[in-house]
Amino acid sequence: MPDQTFKLNGKTVTVDTDDDVRLLWVIRDLLGVTGPKYGCGINVCKACTSHYNGKAFNPCSVQVKDIKPEDEITTIEGLADTVEGDGLHPMQDAWLKYDVGQCGYCQPGQIMAAVAKVRQCQAEGREVDDSAIEEIRNMCRCGTYNRIREAIKDGAQNM
């Protein structure tokens, strides 16, 4: 089996597994990093949303061979370290402020999606408004959508 090497939450990791194993399983089952969740495996529910070189992607739908050694994968566990200081990422703080999570299963993916969406809006000079938020496909079966909307708008202010 080939060695697969990439950067995960700031550290270089190497795993011995087949090329076509989807990255989600490499992260969860082989590396034991369990923040990104399985909710469908077909790029629909977005519970696994993480960052690939700072942009949102879905590791359930990427083969591990397509990740290069210099690629930075960030999961929810590594998000706080992408900002200055000892605290959390402003989006995580906003999530706490609005008491968003219910079961919490979707929330790692929601937060990672929200951060990427805000960065995208900022890069494009768009406002983080309802229509931008409605581009986020992440499923929340507990129905926390309305608090998510408030938290994203609030978190965006501090990003």
Partner: protein
Amino acid sequence: MPAHRAGTTTQLDPVEKSGTGRSPVNRRRFLGYLIAAPTLVVAAEMARETVWPESSPWASVANAAALPSPPQTPEYYEFVDSYRDACRPTNALLKVEVNKDGTVSFALPRSDNGQGIQTSFAMIIAEEIGCDPANVKVTLADARPELLFNQLTGGSSSTYSLYTPVRVAAAIAKGALLEAAAQQLGQDKRTLTVAGQTVVDTTGKAIGFGDLTTLAASPVTKAVDVVLKPREQFKVIGKPRNKDDQYAIVTGQKKFAMDLQIPDALPTMICRAPDLNGFPKKGDPSNIDEVRNMPGVEGVARIGNGWAVRARTFGQCIDAVNALQVNWNAGTLAGKSDADVVKQLRAAELPLAVPAVPGKTIEQDFVHYSRNGSALETNCAIVSFKNGKAEVWAPAKSPISGQKIAAQKLGIPQNAVDFHVIPGGGSFGRRLFNDSIQEAAEAAKAFGKPVKLMWDRANDCRQGRVKPLCTTRVRAVLTDDAVASFELRYTGVGMEVDEGLTDVLTSQLIKAPGGNLGVSETFWEISVLTPYNFGVNTRFMNEVNMGFNTGSTRNVYGPDTCTAREVMIDKIAERLKKDPMKFRTEFIKTERARRVLERVAKEADWGKSMEPGTAQGIGFHQEYKAVMACIVELDARPETVNRPIVKGKTGPRVTKLTFVVDPGLLINPNGYKAQMMGGINDGIANALTAGLHFDNGHFLEASWDNYYYTRQWNTPPEINIIVLEDSESPEPAGAGEAGVAAAMSATVNGWRRATGQEPTYTPLLHKDPLPFEPYPTIPPIPPSPTNSLEFLY
């Protein structure tokens, strides 16, 4: 007092009225136990407790025109009462403990799947003791068979059933701590107070709980009685508090069952049949050896209704499951489709009793299509089985039955199974059943190795339990200005009830009027209510077992029957030429309900002028001791209906939603509001988009882009949830399922008024052309794409 009340074993206490008009159950003395233990351990016994006093806010207020309807069971005894009664004998086995580090702990015999009950019970205990809720550690208890009925989570009953017993235990703990401190400080107990996790005297001298707990420990178990803190003095209860695991959630540290690292528990998935409940023909899959040699695969074995694959990663399980060439037997509904099911139900519908009077009668008929019961976390469980002993880790709402099932499958005694209840990634009814625990136990036995068993999404949707298809019929006969009779009939595919809940209901059957009802009929009798004065008021149900996998899904009979009733009420109001809100306030039975209706009308500006193609809609519901009203503004204009969302279901949209709930005694406003929000998003989905299509023996939906639960583009951009904080009702109402029905019915009414069309089925968009290409059923799991890097943002 209604006559059939005498049938219950519940003794009734006289209830005094306080100046506020509340019924202060807290003036009475309660009995509990100090348990013989090295540190302070307290148990609660609830010998006597009030159910609904005659003088309660539920008491009926008749309107001049309305023809009073006799009381229906849920008005004085509903499911949550039944469940609370079933728990009474074992409440003394619940223990609040004070630890040597000064914290207080309580192993909650319920399951938290996002409802936030761990947080609210920490608040309840902290309130009674007078300490900081952050220092009260509420965990989920392992399965404890000695608790009998008292370890079941469902029917929004958790807080209602345990609120008082847990308070009693906490109050006794406080008393013991004060007593121990009094001796240490040489002071009168009555001069001492609790501050933080310490007891302090008037001079400011303090002793920590940690130092007191050994001193307060009781060498023998003895009965103690206490008076609970009066509601007027509450400082923690009623104040908003964040869910206790929010930090763990936002940092990814919260561990769900599949996140646990149990030695050698490898990913395991099941290859399932194309048909609902199909199963493999005898003999091995033709390519079993090839599959056993696939990368990562550690084992392939026949279990239950399929073939289990155990592998290094779930991804490799999926590949192996899809590679297996299995010959399948037909399923339980081979060749059948929704139309066949509806036909069979129609034939089973019970007659309406009051004859139709020409010109005075309105009739209504609905089909409510099946709804998917999946949570976002699919069905899952870990089972480790070694040397005749087993350990189970699973999100389970009925863990005692789960433990029993695992033991049976493994062929060991129930007490050889340690069953750990893990917080679930949502439940909505699914986790009342132990399907995945049974399968994991079978797989662990077949492989002789620990398994981490998880369902794939497609089969969670297609083979997992659903809220089954049903029909509702309503007939109302009117006088010139009132309703002479209102009859509701529900006919559904059999709603399965888990073994644990069956035991609870069976134990309580004798208490329901009418005596020996079946389990479903009992649940119906104690949960479904027509809360209006409509003269002759009947409600009956009939179920037909057809071979579906079913279960409640965020409420049992409530949302569909409420929708049938509330839509009919709009029609009656129109016929009587009354405003639908005014009509409701005139005919609603109780003052408590009227207040909620009037408040929602005011907050939502009911009756304001709306653009053509848009309209307001009302829904009202009363269940779980809560009273709820909802007003939506629904936009059915083409530009909204046809707004483009790739692979998303759009359609009419609720653009604004106002929701008022009287929650009884409010424990945590944040948590209660969150549960209403979730229920509202369910209600909107139920009304508009979320339905399953059963076709040729299987469900077509296999993903969240097929089964349209509410997404960001469906949820109301504007939402206002008002949780009343001055309820007259003395006890905490249910929350988890409560919000769904009012929101669903308001949305259907809004759609009816906006489009001018008569709805005949829900979800309202169910018969639109199928907006997706169904995934094939073979291979059973849609393969994972490889192109996510092309869609970065």
